[in-house]
Symmetry: C2
DNA sequence: TGTACATCAGTGAACGCGCGTTCACTGATGTAC
DNA sequence: TGTACATCAGTGAACGCGCGTTCACTGATGTAC
């Protein structure tokens, strides 16, 4: 008859984690723009003002969710690369790309949160967000560079001529980050990222399935083609464990 | 002192067009999920129930906006292809791809509406949406097929082996649509779409700019590389007007 | 062991707001005779 | 030319709802002496 007066919190988790967990669940239902403090509080069995003890503003909660998402994506990709026994750059690149898609498919709302439509009125704090957004790709950068230096990766002829404006900007970036690599290699990375990102994006919103059915298989085929187009073999390595 | 009692409609436009125009403007401000009948009515100087005379439900307004967006994208791409004087498939493909990005950059919210996060609670009527979504790509299909049949397009070796599951689905699609073309060519189209879509998506949400600066130049470079990787030349044609 | 105090997560009421949808209605316009 | 009627875009009130944020507060817990 009477509503429960005390919270129905889960014992094993601290409050901020519980709040974020419920927020993620509700985003899945109402979209990334549909996060609402009152609704989260209701589901947790507490009142809305209680949440202000942990997240001073709604925006802070969103930022925390974005931080978690980028971190989880990066950790998933890194773990996938580390789990590859061959240690060959081509295989590690494939592992990283496959992990990118798998994470997106398993966490579609987190993917929308970090790569999809912006949340109206929310402004991400750049000093937090930009380094975070970079982390998932540092390993792919490293693989490309390693493969290139080992002579395993050949830059296709059609990617040799990086536009001057783009090259100028890359020079600035190289100076600031301390990472030095040929311009076409950086451009190739951007192109590769766009390819896997586009595939994932189209799959998530069901644009591929009507025509190809098995989007996972098409993705794998695309990754293999990408690696092969760089002159790298994806055949099982001889130093396989 | 007193609020205007009569509508402040624009004489040159019919009501549904005005409602859609205001809805588009407000989506730019509040996101695709932020369309609100009351807010639209307020801006038009009418009351909310008046909108029901034109759009029986909010969902019908959203559907109308989606129809307009797909139609406009397709028309823009078709016009760009038609405007190419050389009539060579490679040039027409470049024109279509450039138009895809240009439209997205000029209509970012419409692009989000048709290719971005779904609007929570809204379900698009499939019988309207699916044929519409196909139209922008029929011309690219035709260019690819024409180039292939003329021997101008070479399918790269790494794209030859289409996965069996995907091929099976494509067979069904070919049967239904009456369009017949080699499986690798269809897969190549999907791959190409993913590439340009990924680039546009990343540019729209500012993921490329920190590193490359001029996203438009990078896009042009990517399109040129794509066409060249198919063995097609993008040099000016001899039959140029 | 007992008392006084500080801490602080959470409450409940309130503020002012916007939302989609329904309903009976008004009042201008056009049409039939 | 004049009257009766139908049409229909738009009104205004109402329904019941949810929202973020503020504020003074309560009441359990831990700590200092």
């Amino acid at each position: 008859m009477s509503r429960p007066k005390r919270t129905i919190t889960m014992p094993g988790q601290d409050m901020p984690s519980q709040i974020k967990a419920v927020a993620r669940r509700q985003m899945a239902e109402h979209g990334t723009a549909g996060i609402a403090l009152r609704s989260i509080a209701r589901e947790l069995g507490i009142t809305a003002p209680a949440i202000y003890n942990y997240f001073p503003r709604l925006d802070d909660l969103i930022t925390a969710l974005i931080v978690d998402a980028f971190t989880d994506l990066a950790a998933t990709m890194e773990a996938a690369e580390d789990a590859d026994p061959s240690r060959r750059p081509a295989h590690r690149i494939v592992a990283l790309c496959l992990a990118y898609r798998r994470w997106a498919v398993e966490h579609p709302v987190d993917f929308q949160l970090i790569y999809g439509n912006p949340i109206p009125g929310y402004v991400a704090p750049a000093e937090i967000t930009i380094p975070l957004a970079r982390r998932p790709f540092l390993r792919i950068f490293a693989c490309f560079l390693e493969a290139f230096q080992a002579g395993e990766l050949t830059i296709p002829a059609e990617y040799q001529a990086v536009p001057p404006g783009v090259a100028a900007h890359m020079a600035e970036w190289k100076r600031q980050s301390g990472i030095d690599m040929p311009d076409p290699l950086i451009a190739l990375l951007m192109s590769g990222w766009a390819r896997i990102h586009g595939m994932v994006q189209l799959e998530l919103f069901n644009h591929l399935q009507p025509l190809v059915g098995d989007a996972a298989a098409l993705y794998r085929y695309e990754i293999d083609a990408l690696v092969q187009s760089l002159g790298m073999s994806i055949a099982p390595g001889e130093n396989h464990a």
